[in-house]
Structures are given as structure tokens and as C-alpha cells.
């Protein structure tokens, strides 16, 4: 790890982190688990002049239920998500997706806020947050702001977040009929394709459906043509098969690399959409 020279500051509070960000004039980076940022610094693809460590701000970490919403602090680790009793009860898809991230070391250091703010096109949690219709809570010099996940992720490594804002928390409603299905890239264990499906099923009928994909394109995004074929229909295998058969057809800028061609990725979007829907529906 031979990065360029940088200063290190540990922020004691969210407001201090914001102040330090402002003072740096856009040259500082927030450090939480560091599992995306530090590899980039090691490769000198990122050369921040200062790291502002938000990893020890007490209010930023933890999982709670408040006013019917689940709230997860930004510096909560993937391991904490994967092993949270609360999540396993109220939104098991989040735990399951977190358990598929990287390896034990990554899961013990990497954080949900870091993953979302970094917006790697193949990260797992962005698809989950989009499918859960989560709100991303940001704090900046002008106070708080909440952004729906679906509009937070804009492009490759690009999110709706100002340089002096801090991603503080995510909030979403409990969801039971939801599942995440992922094809692992075998080196990085990021998603070649990851699909999160969140359904609400009443009396065997699909009342609402949100399906989001990661890994396939520039950023996590919904698959509206799949959702359209689900809403208002019976929760049956035939319906799922039909909906999954069009998955990804509307996707643009599908990725192609040494691990998976565009052709393969498009085929896998359909496979993993179906698998996610099957698992979401099957959850008793």
C-alpha cells in the first residue's frame, strides 16, 4: 500500500466531518471501512489530500427500527447487516445480500454507507436499496436531505451527493417477500449480475413489485418492464417466468469484460431476475 501523501483526520461528529470536507475544497475523501477507497489509493487511481475518518462517529453506526422504518447508519458493516437479528426478522434480504459481499475480511470492515456512496457498478447493496425503495439520508452544510435510492444512483461511480455532504443513513420499510440473487465474479466476488426483487403479495396476488439490477450496467437501476408484468397478477411461476423473460431488455450500456460479455450478462439478468423473484415469492 504505497499511496500518495495524505493527511488523516478523525471526525468526532457528523458536523465536524462536514466542516472538514468544506475546508478541503473537494480534495478530501471520507474514510469509513476503506475497502473501496484504499485499494484505489494503493493503485493511485484516487489521490485525496486528506482522509476524514468517520468510522468512529457513534451516531453513524447501528441498525434500528423507528416509526415503522428500518434505519441503518452509514458506518454499519456488512457483517453487522449479515448477522442482524432485526434485519433477519424485518428485511432478511438485506442480511442475505450483505452475506454475499466479498469475503469475511471485507464484510468486517466494509460499510453500507461506503458501498452506496462509492457506487461501484457491480456492488450488491445499491440494487437492494433501489429495490427496497430506500431513502438515502445525506447531511451537508445546509442540513439534511433525503434522496430516493432509485435517483441517488446516477451513473458509473456517480451519485446524487455534493462533495460536502455525508451519507449518514438509509431508511426503508420492512419487507418480507424480497430476495437477492447474484452471479459472483470469481476474482473480486462483486456481482457480474445481481438482482434484487421486492414484492408485496396479498392473497396470492402481487400488489407491488420492485426489481433492481446491479453489475449489468453503469449503475444499479430498476427493471420497469419486469415490474409491469408482475403488478396485479397472481404470484405464480408462469407469471415470474414471463416477467423474467424480458429482464434487461431495456438496459443500455451493458458491461462487457474478461469475466462476462454483454451477451452473457444480458442472459444472466434474466436468469437471476427469475431466481430472485422465485426466492422472494417462496419466502414463507
Amino acid at each position: 500500500m504505497i499511496p500518495t501523501k495524505f493527511a488523516y483526520r478523525r471526525a468526532a461528529s457528523l458536523d465536524e466531518a462536514i466542516r472538514l470536507l468544506q475546508e478541503s475544497g473537494g480534495e478530501a475523501k471520507l474514510l469509513a471501512g476503506g475497502h473501496s477507497l484504499i485499494p484505489l489509493m494503493k493503485l493511485r487511481l484516487s489521490e485525496p489530500s486528506m482522509l476524514i475518518d468517520i468510522g468512529r462517529i457513534p451516531d453513524l453506526r447501528g441498525i434500528r427500527e423507528r416509526d415503522g422504518l428500518i434505519e441503518i447508519g452509514a458506518t454499519t458493516t456488512h457483517h453487522e447487516l449479515a448477522t442482524s437479528e432485526l434485519l433477519r426478522r424485518l428485511a432478511p434480504v438485506v442480511s442475505e445480500a450483505a452475506a454475499e459481499i466479498g469475503d469475511p475480511q471485507v464484510r468486517h470492515r466494509g460499510t453500507i454507507g461506503g458501498s452506496l456512496a462509492h457506487a461501484d457498478p457491480a456492488a450488491d447493496l445499491p440494487a437492494v436499496m433501489v429495490a427496497l425503495d430506500a431513502e438515502i439520508h445525506l447531511k451537508g452544510p445546509n442540513g439534511w436531505r433525503a434522496v430516493p435510492a432509485a435517483s441517488f444512483f446516477q451513473d458509473l461511480f456517480t451519485v446524487d451527493m455534493a462533495p460536502d455532504e455525508v451519507l449518514a443513513a438509509v431508511k426503508f420499510r420492512p419487507v418480507w417477500h424480497a430476495a437477492y440473487a447474484k452471479l459472483h465474479q470469481r476474482a473480486s466476488h462483486y456481482a457480474i449480475v445481481g438482482v434484487c426483487a421486492a414484492l408485496s403479495i396479498e392473497n396470492g396476488s402481487i400488489r407491488s413489485a420492485r426489481v433492481a439490477v446491479t453489475g449489468a450496467s453503469t449503475h444499479a437501476q430498476r427493471l420497469p418492464n419486469v415490474e409491469e408484468r408482475l403488478v396485479g397478477r397472481q404470484a405464480t411461476q408462469a407469471v415470474i417466468d414471463e416477467a423474467a423473460s424480458v429482464a434487461g431488455d431495456t438496459l443500455e450500456d451493458v458491461n462487457s469484460d474478461i469475466h462476462a460479455s454483454e451477451e452473457y450478462r444480458r442472459a444472466m439478468v434474466k436468469v437471476f431476475t427469475r431466481r430472485a423473484l422465485e426466492r422472494a415469492m417462496a419466502r414463507a
Binding site: 504505497i2 485499494p39 494503493k42 473480486s188 474478461i258 452473457y264
Partner: protein
């Protein structure tokens, strides 16, 4: 005479003794190169080429020179004292006088013609990662900053990436004097080839194919992989200007070879160099080679008269440490319909990358040597061409040439069995060299020492419950699953080797000293870096002297402590180094028996060494303690006639031949029909490495070898783009297997001792990589048999398998 009761010491040879090395390694108490810190030490960073092929037109070091903490910058021309050298940096004066004639091109260990290869490219960069300048700075971070600040301009040349185009001189020629990029244009081996003259007589091999009832022909690629030792390379060099003496610490597998080569390149005598391999975190062959960074560090310490350190980072390791394998084979296999093989042809094309390193050119010749496998094949013809490309050079990687041979042959035999509708085990059995025929000389000239292949195959079939395994596969297939079963048999050449087969000599050295207090200090010229020889060698001496293993230290890796040595590679440490150790130990024991005999007024032939005592056979309760006899040997009053004082002996062991361990690997593999993802369900390995000192360590070596062999089949691949850019430059893109990718390994052994060393041990370090790779691919082809697939090139990427399953053209 003492009659004290002593604890009974268990015999340790053959026991599952836990590795004595592990506590310090696990607790972070081991000393690696990067832990060496010397006063006044400077740090190196290399500026490396970011183009695959380019003529250096300008190197601008001005910005880097101006950075505080930068001591010196050298280009290739500077260090090699070639025309066009720029003046050295700053106000520190000229170093030219100290460089003298400059660093010469790097020596290699093979006799073939080779282009000049400088430690730092002076004119043309020929692969991404080749050094073009070196920075010396006060700390490692500054050194790296300054390296980044050096601006290098290239006239870019076409990148030569495809070896089969390269052979036609396309798109360009990399080295002057090597037309069509042919490093070795044509080397034949096998039936009808006169090894002395290279004259070729085709009549026997042609007759085999003319008489064949079935011919299997297949092009296969044993692709390029990166060794990925857990510890990257590193070097610390310290020139003591007062004594004119160089000490060099390096993450190397062979400090004695390093010493010799660094001395030669720097124009020093070998008495002026001490090389130390401290704790070394794995090598897998890649740390046999002596690299440019080691020569540069040594030279710069001498020029600057300060210690210097260079530690490779992981990104550098991917591009600047040698790669392994990368061999294309056009296989033709002639057989009768009963499965009997009449002849084998292997036309081999080795993509060796941009330069010859220490053993580069020799590795593919081992593939030819082992082309007969475990089979009595009456006619074999191998033809090898080695080709330069704009890639990282290749050299030895775990197995080094033998896994390639095994892969091609075992794939071929599987294709034959499939073509004939025969059981693959039966086809192998029908062609095995029978055990009565050992020692057996193959058509390629290898003299197999000993073998009982049928026994190992039978044991593997029992272990895997072969018939049940096939039935289980068929049941799973009936459920619509894609499941395959694969097997492979291998024979390896290990225990390298007689001095005639290695440029360094092929012996090994050891010394054994019984100290004055009866504790034992031994040295070995083997240089273990994960093999566990500190444990196995101590086990051997514990039994030989009848003392507790805790009383024994095995020292290695320091040429000032270990007088002579060759090193650890080619699965030679136990078979060759262990034999040398036993010879030295027996010399000491013999001398000690003389002292004991004098002390006890006994006959030395009647003495027994056991439980910390030396006593007359049959009288275990009366005798002298081991320590007491040791003390007497050092304070010999009176000195027995004809004896010198002291208990310290050394030995060189020169093996008369290599050893040839063998085994059978069997696996079951499932492929996800929708995604193409392969998953191993079962894996069985029966290995025969002769006599075993420590089964736990043998199993550990087999596990590691299986991980790398299976890793190559399923996951690992170095990929270059069409422009010669390295696309797998980190673990984000280079897939190493994880523990969770493997099923439980079911292991067993047969024991066929070798006659070529007194231990009967054959070596096991590389064996796991041989059978596993073809077994996995054979299983994958079996799983996809319904799609009419005959062969799949590795690695078994999910998309590749998905394309077969879904009838899509390969991308």
C-alpha cells in the same frame, strides 16, 4: 554408569508431527525481508514500462530529481554504463567511476542462445512492467512518488501477443537476431531422435500412426498463470565498503545460487558475498530465478555505499515476477481399438514472454521429457518451439513442465476412451508400464526409478468408489443436472537431480553438529519456504540420535551458516537434501559411537542411541547420557586414539537419478445449466511419493498442490489484451480459488520407495498440480458430453461453459 529412568521417546519418522515453523508464522513472529531494517537504509522504486513494446525515446527525470528525499535516479543506460548515459542526479557527484563497466546483461541457466536482457531496459521496453528506471530515496513512499514523476516517452511498436502469429514474425520481431521471434526454433525429442546430433528418423513414429485404428488429434492450451506467492519478492542489499563485502537478503528459494550469480554479475568473488533467505512466504518456483531487482539493489548499495531495500508490491508481482505454463500442444495420439496406445506426437509451442530468465528455456523441455506419462508408449515424438512475445517472461511454476505434459496426455487418453466407449480407468490400465519393467526408460529418455501404477489406480478407484460414483453421476443426470466424473494419472520427475541435469549442480549439502551439551544443530542447503523441512529434518535426526525433537535446530537460508547448497525446487528438499542430512548425521553418530565406546569400554557396533541415552544393546538401563558423551567429545580426556575432538560433520549427496512419484486423481463436478458455473462436488487423490517422513506435511503439500492445480483448471488465468496490456493485474480480476471453492479432499497413499536415495523418499511438493488439472477438465468434458463437446480449454470460465450448453459461438 547412570541408571536413571528416562522417558521413552516415540519414533518420529512416519509420525504426524505438527510443523514446528507454524507458531512463529501464525503469530507474526517470523522475520521476512521487509522486516529487515538497517541504519541508513535507502529505498528503491522502479519505474516500469506501461507499454508492451516501445522504444524509449526520452526519459525526463528532472521533476523526480527535484523532489526532496530523492537520492539518485538511474536509467538503464546509466546503470549499464551504456552510451547515452545521463549524468547522475543532484550534487552528489558522479557515480560513473563506481559503476565501472556497468551491470552486464543478466545471466541465464540454460545453454540456448538468448538476447541480452538488462536489469533495466536501456533502449526498448518489451513487456508491461519491465523496469526502465530506478529511484533511490529516503523512504519507500518518496521513492514511489518520484518514480511516478519520471516521464518516459516511447515510440510505440506493435505488440506481439499471439505466439502462433509471433512465429511468423507477426506483427513484428521483438529481438534482433531472433527471426520470427523464435527463441528456440525447433527441438525434437523422443523415438528416432538422436539426442547427440538432433538427427531425426521418422520411421517408427510414422509406422505407429500408419498402423493405428484410431487417431485422436486436438489442439490444447495449457494457459499462463501467475504464481502468487503470499509474500511478494523483496531484497535488501548491504555493501560493507570497509570489508568490501556484500550481504544480500532476498525472498529467494536458493540463496547459494543467488550468491554465485550476484557475485558474477557484480564482478565480485563468491567469498565477498553472503546471501540470506530469511523467512520466505512461498515461492512456487517464481523465487528460483535471480531477478534484475536483486542485481540492481546489490549494485546500488555498492555505488551509494548505503544499504538499500526494495519490496515488490502486489501489482508489481503480477507483471514483474515470472509467469508459469503457457504452452500450446498439438496432440496426436495413435491407438488400437482395444485402447492400446501405439504412438504419441506432441507439437509444442511455448509462449515464453519477452526474455529468457534463469530456466525459462528448459521448462518446456521437461514437458517433452515426461510425454510418456505412466504409459508404455512404443513411439513418441515431441517437437518444441519457444517463442518470444511482449509478455512477462515465463519460468518455473509448481510442477514446471510436468503438469503441462500430464495435462495434454491425460486429456488425450480421456478423448481416446470416449472415442472408443471404454472406461477411462481401463484404457489407462491397459497402457501402464508394468511394475516388473522398472527401472523403465521412456522413449523420451527418462529413466523411471520405481513404480506400481496399477496399485495406485486400484486404490484410487476404491477410495472414490468408482462404480458407485458413475452410478451417482447417472442418477443426477437423470434429474437433469450436468454432472461429470473425471480422472487423471500422473508421474512426476522430482528430487532434481543428478548434476548432469542442472546448471547449478544437482547435489545437496548438509551439516550436523552435536553441541557440547548434546543439543543438535544441523544445516541444510535446501531453502524451505513453506515445505516444513525444519520439522521433517528434525524428525529424522531425532530418530537417528534418539533425542527429543526439541533438542534439534535445523538452520537454512544463510550462506554464512550453511556452507554450501543448491536450494529448494523440483520437489528435491526431502529426497536430496534429506539424504545429505542423513549422511552427515550418520557420520556424526558413527564418531559419537566411538567416543561412547571409549567412555564405556564397549564395542561401538553394539551401541544403541535411544531415549537420550547411548547404551550397549540389551542393557537400556545402563549407559551414558547423550549429553555426557557429547561433552566428552569436546573435552576428550583422554582422547581416544585415532579420533579428532568434536562432533561436527558435513556431507554432499549426489543423487544417481531423479525420482518419479506418481498418483491418481479423481473428481466429480457439476455445471449449472443456466449460468455455466462449475462446482467440484468430490475430489479424491492417491499419491505415491515413496517413503513418508511426516504424513501431515505430505497431506498439506498435496492440499496446496491440488488448490493450485484445480485453481488453474477452474479459475486462474493471466490475460493480456491485444495491445499487450495486462488485464489481470490484481486480485480483482485474477481469480484465485478460495477454501470454499473446494470439496473435502479425500486423500490416500500407496508407498513405492525409490532406490535412488537412502530414504526411499521421492518428493511431493508439486505432485498435487499434476493430476488435478486434467482430472477437473476431464470431468467438465464428461459433464457436457450431451452437447457433443470434445475438449474445453482452461480455465473453465462460466461463460465459456454456458456457451457450450446454450449452443452459442465462443466469444
Amino acid at each position: 554408569m547412570t541408571t536413571m529412568e528416562r522417558p521413552v521417546l516415540p519414533k518420529l519418522i512416519g509420525a504426524r508431527v505438527k510443523r514446528r515453523e507454524d507458531p512463529r508464522l501464525i503469530r507474526g513472529r517470523a522475520t521476512y525481508v521487509d522486516d529487515i531494517k538497517l541504519p541508513g537504509m535507502l529505498h528503491l522504486a522502479f519505474k516500469r514500462s506501461d507499454v508492451a513494446h516501445g522504444r524509449i525515446t526520452r526519459i525526463d527525470t528532472s521533476a523526480a530529481e527535484a523532489m526532496p528525499g530523492v537520492v539518485a535516479i538511474f536509467t538503464g543506460r546509466d546503470l549499464m554504463a551504456l552510451p547515452g548515459a545521463t549524468r547522475p542526479v543532484g550534487a552528489r557527484g558522479t557515480y560513473a567511476a563506481k559503476i565501472g563497466a556497468g551491470l552486464p546483461p543478466m545471466p541465464i541457466g540454460t545453454p540456448f542462445p538468448s538476447p541480452a536482457h538488462y536489469a533495466i531496459a536501456p533502449e526498448v521496453a518489451r513487456y508491461v512492467g519491465e523496469p526502465v528506471a530506478v529511484v533511490v530515496a529516503e523512504d519507500r513512499y518518496l521513492a514511489r512518488d518520484a518514480a511516478d514523476a519520471i516521464v518516459v516517452e516511447y515510440e510505440e511498436l506493435p505488440a506481439v501477443v499471439d505466439p502462433e502469429l509471433a512465429m511468423q514474425g507477426q506483427p513484428t520481431v521483438i529481438h534482433e537476431g531472433f527471426p520470427n521471434n523464435l527463441a528456440l526454433p525447433y527441438v525434437p525429442m523422443g523415438t528416432g531422435v538422436d539426442p547427440a546430433t538432433g538427427a531425426v528418423d521418422n520411421s517408427a513414429i510414422d509406422r505407429a500412426f500408419a498402423e493405428a485404428e484410431v487417431v485422436i488429434s486436438q489442439r490444447m492450451v495449457n494457459h499462463r498463470v501467475a504464481p502468487n506467492a503470499m509474500e511478494p519478492r523483496g531484497v535488501v542489499a548491504h555493501w560493507d565498503a570497509g570489508k568490501e563485502f556484500l550481504t544480500i537478503w532476498s525472498a529467494t528459494q536458493n540463496p547459494h545460487i543467488l550468491k554465485s550469480m550476484v557475485a558474477a554479475v557484480l564482478g565480485l568473488g563468491e567469498h565477498q558475498v553472503r546471501a540470506i533467505a530469511p523467512e520466505v512466504g512461498g515461492g512456487f518456483g517464481c523465487k528460483i530465478n535471480i531477478y534484475g531487482e536483486e542485481y540492481v539493489a546489490a549494485a546500488l548499495s555498492r555505488i551509494l555505499e548505503r544499504p538499500v531495500k526494495w519490496i515488490e508490491d502486489r501489482s508489481e508481482a503480477f507483471m514483474a515476477t515470472i509467469h508459469g505454463r503457457d504452452l500450446i500442444c498439438y496432440l496426436d495420439l495413435a491407438a488400437r481399438r482395444d485402447g492400446r496406445i501405439l504412438g504419441v506426437k506432441m507439437r509444442l509451442i511455448a509462449d515464453i514472454g519477452a526474455y529468457n530468465m534463469l530456466l525459462t528455456a528448459a521448462i518446456p523441455t521437461l514437458t517433452m521429457l515426461m510425454a510418456s506419462g505412466t504409459y508404455d508408449i512404443p513411439a513418441i515424438r515431441c517437437e518444441l518451439t519457444e517463442v518470444f512475445t511482449n509478455k512477462t517472461p515465463t519460468d518455473a511454476y509448481r510442477g514446471a513442465g510436468r503438469p503441462e505434459a500430464t495435462y495434454f496426455l491425460e486429456r488425450g487418453i480421456d478423448m481416446l476412451a470416449r472415442e472408443l466407449g471404454l472406461d477411462p480407468a481401463e484404457v489407462r490400465r491397459r497402457n501402464f508400464i508394468p511394475k516388473e519393467k522398472f527401472p523403465f526408460t521412456t522413449q523420451t529418455g527418462a529413466v523411471y526409478d520405481s513404480g506400481d501404477y496399477e496399485k495406485a489406480l486400484n486404490r484410487a478407484l476404491e477410495l472414490a468408489k468408482w462404480d458407485e460414483l458413475i452410478a451417482e453421476r447417472d442418477r443426477m443426470r437423470a434429474e437433469g443436472r450436468l454432472v461429470g466424473v473425471g480422472m487423471a494419472f500422473y508421474v512426476e520427475v522430482c528430487g532434481l537431480g543428478p548434476s548432469s541435469s542442472l546448471p547449478t549442480g544437482g547435489w545437496e549439502h548438509a551439516s550436523v553438529t552435536v553441541e557440547r551439551d548434546g543439543r543438535i544443530r544441523a544445516t541444510t542447503g535446501a531453502s524451505p519456504h513453506g515445505q516444513g523441512n525444519e520439522t521433517t529434518f528434525a524428525q529424522m535426526l531425532a530418530d537417528l540420535f534418539g533425542v527429543p525433537i526439541e533438542h534439534i535446530t535445523i538452520e537454512h537460508g544463510d550462506t554464512a551458516v550453511v556452507r554450501q547448497g543448491i536450494g529448494t525446487f523440483g520437489s528435491r528438499s526431502q529426497a536430496v537434501g534429506g539424504a545429505a542430512l542423513m549422511m552427515a548425521g550418520e557420520k556424526v553418530r558413527k564418531k559419537m559411537a566411538k567416543f561412547a565406546a571409549a567412555l564405556m569400554d564397549a564395542n561401538e557396533e553394539d551401541l544403541v542411541f535411544e531415549n537420550g541415552m547411548i547404551y550397549v544393546k540389551g542393557s537400556p538401563t545402563t549407559g551414558k547420557s547423550f549429553a555426557e558423551v557429547a561433552r566428552y567429545a569436546y573435552i576428550p580426556v583422554p582422547l581416544p586414539p585415532g579420533l579428532e575432538p568434536g562432533l561436527s560433520e558435513e556431507a554432499f549427496f549426489e543423487p544417481p537419478n531423479n525420482t518419479y512419484p506418481f498418483g491418481a486423481h479423481i473428481c466429480m463436478l457439476e455445471i449449472d445449466r443456466e449460468t455455466g458455473e462449475p462446482r467440484l462436488l468430490k475430489f479424491f487423490a492417491v499419491d505415491d511419493c515413496g517413503n513418508v517422513i511426516n504424513p501431515l506435511i505430505v497431506e498439506g503439500q498435496v492440499h496446496g498442490g491440488l488448490a493450485q492445480g484445480i485453481g488453474q483448471a477452474l479459475f486462474e488465468e493471466v490475460v493480456y489484451g491485444p495491445d499487450g496490456q495486462l488485464l489481470t493485474g490484481s486480485f480483482m480480476d485474477y481469480a484465485l480459488p478460495r477454501a470454499t471453492d473446494f470439496p473435502w479432499f479425500e486423500l490416500d497413499r500407496t508407498v513405492t520407495p525409490t532406490p535412488v536415495n537412502p530414504l526411499g523418499a521421492k518428493g511431493v511438493g508439486e505432485a498435487g498440480t499434476l493430476g488435478s488439472t486434467p482430472a477437473v477438465v476431464n470431468a467438465a468434458v464428461d459433464a457436457l458430453a450431451e452437447f457433443g463437446v470434445k475438449h474445453i480449454d482452461m480455465p473453465l470460465r462460466p461463460e465459456k461453459l454456458w456457451r457450450i450448453i446454450h449452443g452459442r459461438a465462443q466469444a
